[in-house]
Symmetry: C2
């Protein structure tokens, strides 16, 4: 399925980097741990990092009921959500053609508060399994009080764009021909480290497989 | 020097995670490759990933003169810039206390276009040295035409907040006492991979030290 861009979700710069497959959008979202949620407050922009999770063509965002961005977004105002993964630095022969390899998604929509208890529980499960796969069934699930203290917002993925840059620099022909400087890509990798057990654990514990085996 | 928070840059949620040292702000900015720039367009928020660099208490942002976010921001409207580094996933004994370890900075300000040629060249040097340290002196520097094709914006760091979360989960006492689940932190590391030379390089090239030695 292809994305259906509207004027504001149409990629204007770097069209050759725009990817129109919905699977690509899902893949970018699924690979990221946080998104950046932007709202308008008193006429000025506010952008904050926010946890999220995806279920089909909906993303769920959550935060404390007291967080300003969540309060504002929960009133049904327009939101913009960006997810960005940096994959490397592109060293070109010219400063001007330096770039980064990246995968990014930008979503425009209206945040809809999820208030129905069953729907909210489902959304929190999606969020939890995005941030910490396996934790929903392993850890203690939310109490009624904890559910009430969490704001969950749903944003539809209907209006979204994806940009992906991969590969070597795009130097000018003259710079390539001059062959005066090294050029290439320095990849940036992310990896999980060694689990650090909470000092408050009592007794001997094996790290559970959903943590130790996370890829 | 401490930050001087205004009402909108005062951290309301998780006050214990707010860091008020300007050095901490600088350190967060210097450790990140991209920021997220938010502007208001037609009353709706727009947030996009953007390259940046810091010089003292100014950050420079750049993009194509054709990019919408840059065009909008260059008109002197309010901007918000967020920089986020995720350091790990915090596995708590309860789903509710799951979290992430992170370093984040949020800056509120007005983007000022940098148009004076000397100032613009300086800003591009700062930007280049942030994204690819060593490249300004190594690669071909911008031509007049390339300078003209780049929009550079300056944002003052006067109004900024920093939040940092480190350490183990903050479970409820009852959950700790119950000792029914493993808890701890799974660190997330980023590292540079092996440089990938541009296939268009002619002849044998050693990877230059500013690339091969990047930390």
């Amino acid at each position: 399925m292809t994305l259906s861009p509207t004027p504001r979700s149409t990629v204007r710069r770097g069209r050759k980097r725009a990817v129109t497959e919905r699977d690509a959008l899902h893949a970018v979202l699924d690979a990221a741990l946080v998104c950046h949620l932007a709202v308008v407050v008193d006429g000025a922009p506010l952008v904050l990092p926010t946890g999220f999770g995806r279920d089909g063509d909906t993303i769920y965002l959550h935060g404390s009921t007291g967080a300003r961005s969540m309060r504002e977004a929960a009133t049904g105002i327009p939101v913009c959500v960006a997810v960005t993964l940096v994959d490397g630095v592109v060293y070109a022969r010219s400063v001007f053609d330096h770039s980064m390899n990246y995968r990014s998604a930008v979503i425009h929509g209206t945040a809809v508060p999820v208030t129905d208890p069953a729907a909210k529980t489902h959304a929190l499960r999606v969020l939890t399994e995005h941030i910490a796969p396996g934790s929903w069934d392993y850890a203690r699930q939310p109490s009624a009080k904890e559910l009430a203290a969490t704001t969950v917002l749903a944003v539809d993925l209907a209006e979204a764009s994806v940009k992906i840059r991969t590969g070597p620099p795009g130097d000018e022909d003259e710079d390539v021909a001059a062959n005066r400087a090294w050029a290439g890509v320095l990849p940036l990798h992310t990896s999980w480290g060694t689990p650090e057990p909470d000092p408050l654990l009592v007794g001997e514990w094996d790290v559970p497989p959903h943590v130790s085996g996370r890829r």
